[in-house]
Structures are given as structure tokens and as C-alpha cells.
């Protein structure tokens, strides 16, 4: 399905996470942070819920992603541009879209591995009770798709600028907008002066709504459509941007 060139880029980019400390740092912070938030003796703690499910875990995923995903995606293109290795890369017999897709898939599979590493939580839940496997599976699937959506946004901003910090900040801002779009306080505020179809539009753009709707174990076509469209769109825009700059 993937071309040979894409696979090469994917492999190279994926292993680059583990060549330096970044990959290990990300894994440790992600797993430690997620487990802390899940068991933390405060609001929505795993044990306080007294239910054999992972909702305590999945509720925090978008907020954890908000700061960690841009860190994964920021170096994808900004680094190449800064060190000018992008010139070299694009003179190779390789199409721009192959490079963009390869890099994106590498970062996506890296986050996927980070998610898989949280498997002890599933085992704990299986030991403590009899959870609904379908719900857990869809929780993971929606987390994975959410990661893809945010990474594709990150890819775009990384392609936009040379500076990794700028890419990081812009990605955080746009991801926050997508997350906050459907949150109740925000919606209540804007519903005082904006027409209803505009509110509906914003609500349909909200990441959180789709993430939660999928995470409760129901596969709605509109959620799949949303995530697919978001990923495809940002990737296509990144490809346009990079090939324009190259020419």
C-alpha cells in the first residue's frame, strides 16, 4: 500500500525518536503523567469511580496530548528546514507527498506505541472486574485517531516555520481551539450573540465531542468522517505548503 520511499522515510523517522533522548522522555512523561492523573486522589479518580472501566484514563487523554503531541510533531519539518537538510531530502528521488506521509505515519505510530504501553491499566481493570472490552477498544481507537488529528495539525505548523518553538506554540494554540470549540462555557458565551447554525458548526468541529462520542463504545460514522477529514486535510495542506516552498 505504501510505496518503498514512504516506508524508508517512516523507518528512518521512527528510529530517530529512539536515537536521542526525546522518544524515551516522551514515553516516560506520557505514561507517568497518564497513570498519575488516572489514580490521582482527586476528581474522577480510577478507584473513586468504583466502575471497571477506563474512563478515568481516557478523560485526561486530550489534555495530556495538548502538550505532548506538539512536542512530537514540532521537529518533523522545522528541524529539516533549519539544518537545510530539506534541500537534500527533496533532491532525492522521492515525492513530497511520500516524505510528508512517511514522516506523519512515523510520528503517529510512535504515539501509538506510547498508547499501547499503557496496557497495564487494562490488565488491572481486567483483574479488578469484568470491563466492557468493546468500550475499552473504542477508547483506545478514539485516542489513536485524536493523536492522528493533532499530529497532522502539528505537521502543518512544523512545515510552516523553521523554528521548532514557534511550531510548538502554534500547534498548541490551534489544538486548544479545536478542543475548546465545543466546551460548555465557551458555547454558552458565544450563543449569546451568534446565530444557531454557527453554533452547530462550531459544535460539529469540536474534537472533544467526537472523542467522547466514540469513546463510549458506539461507532458513529460522523466521528470517523470527522477524524479522517481532519487528518487528510492537514496533510494535504502540508504537502501543498512544502511543494510550493520547494519550487
Amino acid at each position: 500500500m505504501l510505496s518503498y520511499q514512504t516506508k524508508v522515510i517512516l523507518k528512518k523517522e521512527f528510529s530517530s525518536y529512539f536515537n536521542g533522548p526525546i522518544g524515551y522522555l516522551f514515553l516516560i512523561i506520557f505514561l507517568f503523567g497518564m497513570n498519575y492523573l488516572t489514580f490521582e486522589p482527586g476528581s474522577g479518580s480510577y478507584f473513586l469511580m468504583r466502575q471497571a472501566d477506563l474512563s478515568a484514563f481516557f478523560n485526561y487523554i486530550p489534555w495530556m496530548y495538548l502538550f505532548l503531541i506538539p512536542a512530537v510533531s514540532m521537529k518533523l519539518w522545522a528541524d529539516e528546514k533549519k539544518s537545510n537538510s530539506i534541500e537534500l531530502l527533496l533532491t532525492m528521488p522521492i515525492k513530497v507527498q511520500e516524505a510528508v506521509i512517511g514522516k506523519f505515519l512515523a510520528s503517529w505510530s510512535f504515539v501509538g506505541i506510547a498508547l499501547l504501553c499503557s496496557f497495564p491499566l487494562v490488565l488491572t481493570t481486567l483483574y479488578l472486574g469484568s470491563p466492557d472490552i468493546g468500550v475499552i477498544f473504542f477508547g483506545y481507537l478514539s485516542s489513536f485517531l485524536l493523536a492522528g488529528a493533532m499530529l497532522s495539525i502539528g505537521t502543518f505548523f512544523s512545515a510552516l516555520t523553521k523554528n521548532q518553538v514557534v511550531a510548538f506554540i502554534l500547534t498548541v494554540v490551534i489544538c486548544t481551539l479545536f478542543i475548546m470549540a465545543g466546551s460548555p462555557p465557551f458555547m454558552e458565551y458565544i450563543s449569546t450573540f451568534l446565530p444557531k447554525y454557527f453554533i452547530d458548526l462550531l459544535e460539529s468541529l469540536s474534537v472533544l465531542n467526537h472523542f467522547e462520542s466514540m469513546g463510549r463504545g458506539v461507532l458513529v460514522l460522523s466521528d470517523l468522517w470527522y477524524f479522517t477529514l481532519l487528518i487528510v486535510f492537514w496533510i494535504v495542506v502540508s504537502i501543498t505548503l512544502i511543494s510550493e516552498n520547494k519550487a
Partner: protein
């Protein structure tokens, strides 16, 4: 160079707009296409409920009273175990099967507002959380002719019966039961038409 940059900007802006539009359209079209993967089909209605909803021929207005603000100030247990999201999802499911006959309003009755006054009039059960905050979590169904049916309070322990309760509520508000009246009198009552006005 400048021209080219403007062109790029235009392309990006156009694609952002078209993305929003496509997502919006897709959301509206694909909303109904769903598969429930939960073990007990938690978010699907039984065929009985679906039949009743399919036969609806007059509009029903559902008002869900949930004191969200009060609940957020309340205890952890109240927020986590009140089933609000589940009730709301199930009500949305009812709405989507009703051929647009059901409208759903979610109302957060704040103290000293008209909404709270309404909630009191409907007879929803109230819980005083603090001196000022009162917690309501109930449902009112209003049919075409203004008849009201009320679920005073959604008990978190009765999650299994929720769908039955809701279907019963909707069925009974569309098909109001006519009360049987008997008149006992030594007079020949049927000759006298008894209107309430005459009682004054």
C-alpha cells in the same frame, strides 16, 4: 514572490473553510449511521421503544432539568454518579428515532429564575445542596395539547429501567388515558349536564 505568498494564503484559507463545511455536512448526514459495540447495547433502543417512536404522530417537547452549575459545586459523588451524560445520550437517541417529533431542551435551573419556578411547578424533586444551591434532575414531557407528564427525579440506581420509564412517559403523553368517571346519585343524573361552573 509576494504574489505567490498571497496565493498560498488564499489556498490555505479556502481549504480551511471547505474543511469546516465538509465536516459540518458530514456530521449532519452521518449522524444516524452508528453501530453500538457495548456489551449490553447500552446506547441503542429496544425494538419496542423504536416501534412506539415510529408511530408518533404529534410533537412532544421534552425538557430535561439538570442543575449543572449546582452539581459542579456539589460533592464528587454527585457529579460522578448522577448518570447525566447517559440520560442525555439516551434522550438524544429517542429524538433521533422520532422523525423530528421530539424536541429536547436541556435546562439548567438556577436559583430565583423562571426556569426554577417552572421546575417547582412541575413538581420535580429538589435537593438542597447548600443554602442557595438546589439540585434538580428530572424530565418533563409536554404534548401537543399542553398535557404534562413528569419524571420527578432520575435515580442513579435505576439505570436499567431508564429506557422503560422514558418510553412509558412518551407513550402516555401521546395517548393520555381517559379517566373513567362514574356518577352516583339518587337523581336522574344523565338528564342534568354537570358543568363545573355551576358549582360556584
Amino acid at each position: 514572490m509576494k504574489n505567490k505568498q498571497n496565493e498560498n494564503l488564499a489556498i490555505i484559507l479556502m481549504s480551511i473553510l471547505s474543511m469546516c463545511f465538509l465536516i459540518y455536512i458530514g456530521n449532519a448526514i452521518f449522524q444516524g449511521a452508528k453501530i453500538d459495540f457495548t456489551q449490553e447495547s447500552l446506547y441503542s433502543l429496544s425494538s419496542g421503544s423504536e416501534n412506539i417512536l415510529a408511530k408518533l404522530n404529534s410533537p412532544i417537547k421534552l425538557k430535561l432539568y439538570y442543575s449543572k452549575t449546582a452539581a459542579n459545586k456539589g460533592t464528587e459523588g454527585l457529579r460522578k454518579f448522577n448518570n447525566y451524560l447517559y440520560v442525555k445520550n439516551i434522550l438524544k437517541e429517542f429524538r433521533s428515532h422520532s422523525h423530528n417529533n421530539i424536541t429536547l431542551d436541556v435546562i439548567d435551573p438556577r436559583p430565583d429564575t423562571d426556569e426554577e419556578e417552572d421546575a417547582k411547578v412541575y413538581g420535580l424533586r429538589k435537593f438542597n445542596l447548600t443554602e442557595t444551591e438546589i439540585y434538580y434532575f428530572g424530565l418533563v414531557a409536554i404534548n401537543e395539547s399542553g398535557g404534562e407528564k413528569v419524571i420527578e427525579f432520575f435515580d442513579p440506581a435505576e439505570k436499567e429501567n431508564l429506557e422503560y420509564e422514558l418510553t412509558k412517559l412518551i407513550y402516555s403523553s401521546v395517548n393520555p388515558k381517559k379517566p373513567t368517571i362514574g356518577v352516583l346519585s339518587s337523581e336522574k343524573v344523565l338528564l342534568v349536564i354537570f358543568l363545573p361552573i355551576w358549582r360556584r
